[in-house]
């Protein structure tokens, strides 16, 4: 496999400008001759579909939700970063670029991240123009807050519902194009396979989730914006439907997968309560602007938090990272919380929790001010836990939140399959080994609004694309294999439910490939997962048929893919013999327990290639490397102390 990241030559600051000029264009009259498929309608997919339609392309957009407005981007809470420097506090494109590279623990591409920082300001402009109601100051100008891993205030927000408001902005732009007939929208439709003709991505096979009908769609290019795969852990902050199927199917068709083991564990989530629990709920990172994280100094201290005097509390983030304090990056904050709990200082019934305390802020600013900033989050916390966070500290614990890994893409956001483009969380590109808070929204919208419209034109203008219809044999073969697979799932007629398998897989992944990983554990997981997969294909029980709304069948298809994908994650974690960002191998740490990178051998993207037939289980996974070249940033040990 040949990996060419296609990073433009020239100085960092002008790479994107020059590249845009070098890219070929499609004339307005020719745009209407092209069909583009967009899978996913979140920030990346929705913004891409809308923008490409505005430009005149014919777009088909697919989502498994019942409306594009329900994509999981909607749940993002805290905010979106942009290097506007409206505060005059020393921010700049270069600083956002540097913070993101450093936050990612020096495992992302300089050129991509710089472009992201460059377009960040335009995103805010675009969203405001759409009517997104960002928070404002009394003078009527936009307000900012601070997020982890940065010492400037560059995060724009709409209370604790920034993702919702940005997605509704993209959704409104998409709706306008649907109304105009330029986008054909297919809600409640799930992609099951990618179709290649002459080695190029030319379409997809989908299942109508209401009727069960399998159908093919042909196009000149395919865009996947299908989000992350955090649900491989079963419990995560992702929506219940979030899955790896689209990207994993593309992987099996030949698209390489970058850094699958890079998972973000978010430090501030509501702790697990019982074995019936179906998902974890995030409490926005923005809370760390005003909340202080602490545990009792002594082990097993069962006193009520109010009864523990200040001198007997360990504000461990402030103690260990005085210059960033409670706003240390996510991977570091999560690991510190885990350490405290592992040392027996955890709070709550299970002992897996730390306090996030607002008492100081409430006495400094007053309860009303705190309510104005975080009211909806406090209410949500109370609804779930039945505890009032205005009166007693929140209890939080880390949970799986985001996946930095994803399909490998070049600078043009194209995968190793010509014509297959990947945007947003679904690609691997911009966050390295750890994503900074408020950067996911930025990347999703950067990819969709400001990158893909330029780069896809270059692909369309410079490729020879014969007319292809869905009667082509490749489509028929892919449809047949999808039908066969559904038939297999339904015919097992075993005794265990899909959820029971998913929970079991999740437990393996969390125990062995979660916040801390080691060789022995990963090797165990690599034995346990294939065994579980085998049991799945022998003992799964799904009722009903394909030709109806069958939620168990939908889940089964997704879990079947997670059962293969989990193995790839463990394999990646096992072969990356270093600790970096969210990937913490206990064998590789500094004496004071910080991640110990190995730049000599691992300053690269691990790029995996599927071996074997696309329709059968993998015969193997082959590891390639894209070396990361740092011309502008000096590789340094990340320090937030």
């Amino acid at each position: 496999m040949k990996l060419d990241a296609k990073i433009p030559a020239g100085p960092l600051e002008s790479k994107w400008e020059n590249h845009k000029f070098d890219l070929k264009l499609v004339s307005p009259a020719n745009k209407r001759k092209f069909e583009i498929i967009v899978v996913g309608s979140g920030l990346a997919g929705g913004s891409a579909a809308a923008t490409l339609a505005e430009l005149g392309y014919n777009v088909k957009c697919f989502c498994f939700q019942d409306s594009p407005r329900r994509a999981h981007s909607i749940a993002a809470q805290g905010g979106i970063n942009a290097a506007k420097n409206y505060r005059g506090d020393g921010d700049s494109i270069h600083r956002l670029f540097y913070d993101t590279i450093k936050g990612g623990d020096f495992r992302s591409r300089e050129a991509n991240v710089h472009r992201l920082a460059e377009v960040s300001g335009h995103i805010i402009d675009q969203c405001v123009a759409q009517g997104v109601p960002f928070a404002r100051e009394y003078g009527g100008l936009l307000d900012n807050r601070s997020f982890g891993g940065a010492q400037v205030s560059r995060t724009f927000y709409a209370r604790g519902q920034t993702g919702q408001q940005l997605l509704l902005g993209a959704y409104s732009a998409l709706s306008r194009q649907i109304g105009a007939g330029q986008v054909q929208m297919f809600p409640k439709t799930e992609m099951l396979d990618l179709v290649l003709v002459d080695g190029k991505a030319r379409g997809i096979v989908v299942r109508d989730l209401v009727t069960g009908a399998m159908e093919s769609h042909a196009a000149d290019a395919v865009i996947l914006a299908t989000g992350g795969y955090g649900n491989v852990f079963y419990l995560s902050t992702n929506a219940k439907g979030s899955n790896v199927t689209a990207t994993y199917r593309a992987y099996k068709r030949g698209a390489a997968f970058g850094n699958p083991c890079f998972t973000q564990i978010h430090p501030t989530c509501i702790p697990v309560k019982g074995d019936y629990q179906s998902k974890l709920t995030l409490m926005s990172e923005s809370l760390r602007n005003d909340g202080r994280v602490w545990v009792p100094k002594s082990k097993g201290d069962k006193r009520a938090p109010a009864d523990i005097p200040d001198s007997e509390r360990d504000y461990f983030l402030e103690r260990k990272y005085p210059s960033f304090g409670n706003l240390a990056p996510r991977d570091i904050a999560s690991r510190s919380a885990k350490e405290a709990c592992d040392a027996g200082q955890g709070v709550g019934e299970s002992g897996f929790g730390v306090y996030l305390d607002f008492a100081d802020s409430i006495s400094r600013l007053g309860e009303d001010q705190i309510r104005a900033r975080y009211g909806n989050l406090f209410d949500m916390y109370e609804r779930i836990t039945d505890e009032n966070p205005y009166k007693m500290p929140m209890r939080i614990y880390p949970a799986v939140h985001y996946t930095m890994g994803g399909l490998w893409v070049d600078y043009n956001l194209m995968s190793t399959i010509p014509g297959l483009h990947v945007l947003g969380e679904a690609n691997f590109s911009d966050h390295g080994a750890n994503r900074l808070g408020a950067s996911a929204l930025m990347q999703g919208l950067a990819d969709g609004y400001f990158v893909i419209p330029y780069t896809i034109a270059n692909y369309l203008a410079s490729s020879k694309l014969e007319k292809v219809t869905t009667s082509h044999e490749s489509f028929k073969a892919a449809e047949d294999s999808c039908r066969k697979r559904v038939g297999q799932l339904l015919s097992i007629k075993g005794s265990r439910t899909v959820d029971s398998f998913h929970r079991e897989l999740g437990k393996i992944m969390w125990d062995k490939c979660g916040m801390a990983r080691d060789r022995a554990g990963l090797q165990e997981a690599l034995k346990a997962i294939p065994k579980l997969r085998e049991e799945f294909w022998q003992d799964l029980k799904i009722l009903g048929t394909n030709e109806e709304i069958n939620q168990s069948l939908e889940k089964a298809g997704r879990v079947a893919d997670f059962l293969e994908f989990g193995e790839l994650m463990c394999l990646d974690a096992l072969t990356r013999e270093e600790s970096c960002g969210g990937h913490f191998r206990t064998e590789h740490q500094t004496p004071d327990g910080e991640a110990l990178r190995n730049d000599e051998n691992f300053c690269h993207v691990a790029v995996w290639e599927h071996e074997g037939d696309a329709t059968g289980p993998a015969k193997g996974h082959k590891r390639h490397q894209e070396e990361l070249v740092y011309e502008h940033v000096k590789l340094a040990t990340r320090s937030y102390k």
């Binding site: 909607i74 123009a129 009527g140 919702q164 609804r383 439910t497």
Partner: protein, 252 residues
């Protein structure tokens, strides 16, 4: 906790539905309402009965996917709460619950508790946007907006499109939903050029989808998980009348 559930079962859009009774045992008060249904469904699958189909996704009250009638109240008894955020501690041990889908002409039942809400998307497509192409925006701070207007626009924009307002209304009116979007954009300078057309077109789309009108019962506001105020309906009426009088020949 032990509960007795009466649940609406309907195979598909064309089939006739009926209430079926189930026992829900071993329910923890800390479970969410949907986790309670998960537990019931795991039991049903084990005994060979089709699980209850219900819509859900984020399970944190923001995607707007979930929503059922619990004892005749959209999203159940807790104020300002979606079904996924409703917890079983809101109920008594031994209670009987009647669980039904949204019922409205504009929301046909697809299966059990799942309804088709695509009408809401079509209403937004009729005008719930600002027509601005990507890349043509001016600097964000070039449009200062009075803080109180921005806050009020946000309150309206908080709508999650779940459809509880329609389900709670005896007229199956979608006016709270429509008014939230019309109000948000009419409060902001960005929404001004299309203000009148938006009100006319969205109201017309709402009527074409089979939703009724508002007769001031405020049931919608009472069940809205995001506490969208019926004040916006008053705003919508004003916007609509003004637009209809100003542009009597406008496309409807």
């Amino acid at each position: 906790m032990k509960l007795k559930l009466h649940v609406w079962r309907q195979k598909d859009k064309a089939a006739k539905g009926r209430m079926v009774t189930y026992n829900a045992d071993n329910i923890s008060p800390n479970m969410s309402f949907l986790e309670m249904l998960d537990v019931v469904n795991e039991g049903l699958i084990t005994t060979g009965e089709d699980p209850i189909a219900f819509a859900h996704d984020c399970r944190e009250g923001i995607c707007g996917s979930c929503g059922v009638m619990v004892n005749g109240v959209a999203h159940g008894p807790q104020d300002a709460t979606t079904t996924c955020q409703l917890h079983m501690r809101s109920f008594q041990d031994g209670e009987e619950l009647y669980i039904e889908p949204w019922r409205a002409k504009g929301f046909p039942v697809l299966r059990d508790l799942i309804v088709d809400r695509s009408a809401f998307d079509r209403i937004i497509q009729a005008g719930g946007f600002v027509s601005v192409n990507t890349g043509s925006a001016q600097d964000a701070n070039a449009i200062p907006i009075r803080k109180s207007d921005a806050d009020e626009a946000f309150n309206a924009a908080a709508c999650i499109g779940c459809g509880a307002c329609v389900a709670a209304c005896k007229n199956a009116s979608a006016m709270l939903f429509v008014s939230a979007k019309v109000a948000q954009l009419s409060l902001l300078p960005q929404g001004q050029p299309e203000r009148q057309d938006r009100a006319l077109n969205m109201v017309s789309a709402m009527q074409n989808e089979g939703f009724g009108n508002c007769t001031n019962q405020y049931e919608c506001e009472a069940v809205c998980p995001k506490q969208i105020s019926t004040d916006y309906i008053a705003r919508l009426n004003r916007e609509f009348i003004k637009a209809a009088l100003t542009y009597p020949d406008a496309k409807k």
